[in-house]
Symmetry: C2
Subunit: 244 residues, 2 copies
DNA sequence: CGACTCTTTGAATGGAATCAACGGTCGTGG
DNA sequence: CCACGACCGTTGATTCCATTCAAAGAGTCG
């Protein structure tokens, strides 16, 4: 899927000027600081790993020894209930931080799996602790980031509780487009790197229901295409639908 | 509802020995530290306010100038959509921290309203910043606390997406009982300080559906009572139901 | 007591899950 | 190279659960 040059290219999204909404902003702020101390910078930039589609970044319950930032590609996080059912809890893209909710019991809260070739950046927790001690802006950014995740989760709850299936889908598509713009991509083209099964699980509906909703969106002219790439044709109508 | 002596009594739950799960633990850790500097301690303990049932602690959009810890009583948080519909996002009890998800854009993310006579403790953000600078354990606790909130929100998402109505209710009752034990109360008696309307909104179901589910729980011997106080009669069956 | 809010219960409707079957793609191995 | 199986996506028919609509009972407060 991605070539090495793609990765190098997307890695550039991890820069301070990405704007406040960029989940990697806190980290980037740290990098700016680290320039005064090259050894710290090296410590960040050398902790990189590459995963292929289907490979597991980490399992639930593993010790929480580093925070994970995505440099390129995408991953899904999911929980396994006792009966073996997988429940997808989120999708994460370049420039975003992963599984911060594992911090509170020092272990990974979920399984994270690469949806495509994915490059990540590992930030050891002890290193972060030191950084928080030294850089007030860093800990503020971290708080903001986690706060944003709580906010996002609550927003999702609100959507799931109050919206019907096609409303949920509309919200998701718009959210994907929004996050794509943070990575400097088009705001009218959404790449669904996850399977319909994963997405349906995330949105809390049956695969069939999702499929039907996507078909309806296509025939109604809201979007174009149902495959990996979806083109937003009528974003205003989508927004209207998302509002309820 | 609560007398002054009740409040003084419950305020005692805000102590370090409350255990790791207590949401106020971070704050309490700060208080322990503050003993070496009485002026800091004063600064915390003097920022108290009392609210009566129905009174608003703060509105959505107001500046985020302090973190709010509940000393006694209970509150609900809710969002108002554009069409005036209120969506309850959570309930908070003594020893818990409020609306941390507002941090990321420096304004309150939701409306918070007292469900009964409620005493709170205000922790100014600039004071917390100073505290985080001085006390590593404090910022770790804050991170843990927020992490726990993300975790809780995701857990709620999982429940809402995958469970039927009575399963959701079972999860909620058990969760309420768990939180009650953190405050040193009985684990088999749940006080529902919120209205059924609020609870139904929070659980993502119609008032009538909640009412029916509660009735069923009562007649089936899972719980006793449907009013403000609910007695857990068969916690094992509840747990079984909650597991799905 | 009467106005109000909240809760309960019943009956009908509707939306999504489920069940079932089919076409497509991909990777494996004969 | 093709056959096969595994997985994924689509579509149709049916079932079931929760919402909605409607109305009456219970509790609270002025």
């Amino acid at each position: 899927m991605n070539t090495v040059s793609d990765i190098q290219c997307e890695a550039a999204t991890c820069r301070p000027e990405s704007g406040d909404d960029c989940a990697a902003h806190g980290i980037c702020a740290l990098r700016a600081f680290a320039r005064t101390d090259p050894s710290v910078f090296d410590r960040i930039s050398k902790q990189r790993r590459l995963f292929r589609r289907g490979e597991i970044l980490f399992h639930a319950g593993q010790p929480f020894s580093y925070v994970c930032a995505i440099r390129s590609g995408s991953v899904k996080s999911y929980l396994c209930s006792e009966d073996g059912e997988a429940q997808v809890t989120g999708f994460w893209f370049a420039g975003e931080l992963l599984d911060l909710n594992g911090i509170h019991h020092d272990s990974r809260a979920c399984v994270v799996e690469a949806l495509e070739t994915t490059s990540i950046c590992e930030l050891p927790t002890d290193f972060l602790q030191q950084l928080f001690a030294d850089v007030p802006a860093a800990r503020l950014e971290m708080l903001r980031n986690m706060s944003a995740q709580v906010h996002g989760a609550e927003e999702l709850i609100r959507v799931i509780e109050t919206k019907r299936t096609d409303q949920r889908l509309a919200v998701f598509i718009l959210e994907m487009a929004r996050r794509a713009t943070l990575r400097g991509l088009s705001d009218s083209e959404v790449r669904l790197t996850m399977s319909h099964t994963d997405l349906a699980s995330f949105l809390g509906m049956a695969r069939e229901t999702l499929s039907r909703a996507l078909s309806r969106f296509d025939t109604d002219g809201l979007v174009r295409g149902r495959g990996e790439v979806i083109l937003i044709r009528d974003s205003e109508a989508l927004r209207e639908l998302a509002r309820g």
